[in-house]
């Protein structure tokens, strides 16, 4: 029986789609059968982030409205035979599906997969309600900025109101250099403010942009710190006790000139 996990945020553009693509791939790399669902109807994106845009024939709305069988709308990943994408419709809007549709759809998939990851649209309206309806667990993505954290807090309240248990937090786009000079809230600040469990910290990382340009995902890159962070989160989802990465600027003249990050595991 699959675990249905919704990735949401409140504020837009903080990294939900990036997170969904990377966690889905990382879980598949760990041998899990995974389907990632793009619930951002009308603003389809997960397909391009995963590099699967050329393979789409049917979409989520086609499946819901019976123009195809659900199986036919699933797109198989380029690399992993047990990773699938259910793309959003691009020409419809969020009202084309209801929370009940989403529950029926995920129930049909539950038997065949280990993980169903749902990429939620930004906001707290219909699209969010669709994305959260069938969730067993919720991951909230935020950046360490005031507006994103404020919106995340709102989402925490809603997730609890929908009785979806305790959401877990992903802090994305952390810039260690700014944290070090006191110009960005640190992980501990954000966790204290939101008072929910942290499941991962992902640094700001150019490899995200580069991978996305190519339709690849960062977890496939050996040298991507963000990719490593996402892989760690996937392992934590599987119950492994993986220490958090601690990011630090590389020491020395060259290190600081290049401003390269390195990471080590936190000691516990």
């Amino acid at each position: 029986m699959a675990r249905v996990i919704t990735i949401t945020s409140g504020k837009g553009g903080v990294g939900k789609t990036t997170t969904t693509a990377n966690l889905g791939t990382a879980l598949a790399m760990l041998g899990q059968r995974v389907v990632v669902i793009d619930a951002d109807i009308g603003l389809r994106n997960l397909d391009v982030v995963m590099g699967l845009e050329n393979r789409i024939v049917y979409d989520l709305v086609d499946a819901v409205e019976g123009r195809c069988r659900l199986r036919q709308a699933l797109i198989k990943d380029k690399r992993f035979p047990e990773l699938f994408l259910l793309p959003a419709a691009q020409t419809r809007d969020k009202d084309a599906v209801s929370p009940e549709d989403m529950i029926a759809l995920t129930n049909e998939l539950r038997r065949e997969f280990d993980f169903i990851l749902i990429d939620s649209p930004a906001g707290i309206e219909g699209g969010f309600r669709n994305a959260i309806a069938s969730a067993d667990e919720v991951l909230i993505v935020t950046t360490p900025e005031v507006s994103a954290v404020r919106d995340a807090d709102r989402i925490v309240g809603l997730v609890e109101a929908y009785e979806k248990g305790h959401p877990r937090l992903i802090i994305n786009r952390l810039k260690p250099r700014m944290v070090a000079r006191g110009d960005m809230m640190d992980t501990s600040d954000v966790v204290e403010i939101l008072a929910i469990d942290l499941i991962g910290i992902v640094p700001e990382d150019e490899t995200i942009v580069i991978s996305t340009n190519r339709g690849e995902v960062a977890v496939l890159e050996r040298n991507s710190l963000a990719g490593r962070s996402f892989s760690d989160i996937a392992r934590r989802l599987l119950g492994e006790d993986v220490p958090m990465l601690v990011f630090e600027e590389r020491q020395g003249v060259w290190g600081s000139l290049i401003g390269r990050l390195r990471a080590r595991r936190s000691e516990r």
């Binding site: 900025e145 005031v146 954290v149 404020r150 807090d153 709102r154 309240g157 700014m178 944290v179 000079r181 006191g182 110009d183 960005m184 809230m185 640190d186 600040d189 403010i193």
Partner: protein, 85 residues
């Protein structure tokens, strides 16, 4: 930061600290879900109750603030009373 502050070596608070403090305050307000209208009505009713016992100088000058405490959040009302002997 003023020139004097710089001269006296007073350091400016880090922007991340300011961000955190502002967020904590904003979230207390967000979380109580008190509309501005509710807040106005509440102030009026507080004044009514207090005025039954003591003389309030200026009913318009009551100040209600929400702050974050360690265990719980606090609503504080500051009501100026007429000074008399």
């Amino acid at each position: 930061m003023s020139f004097l502050d710089t001269m006296l070596g007073r350091r400016r608070e880090s922007s991340s600290h300011v961000a955190k403090e502002r967020l904590l305050t904003v979230l207390v307000h967000d979380r109580v879900k008190l509309t501005p209208e509710d807040l106005e009505n509440m102030k009026r009713e507080i004044i009514d109750v207090i005025s039954r016992y003591v003389e309030v100088t200026d009913p318009g000058s009551i100040e209600v603030t929400l702050t974050r405490g360690d265990q719980s959040d606090h609503l504080k009302a500051d009501i100026p009373l007429r000074r008399s002997r």
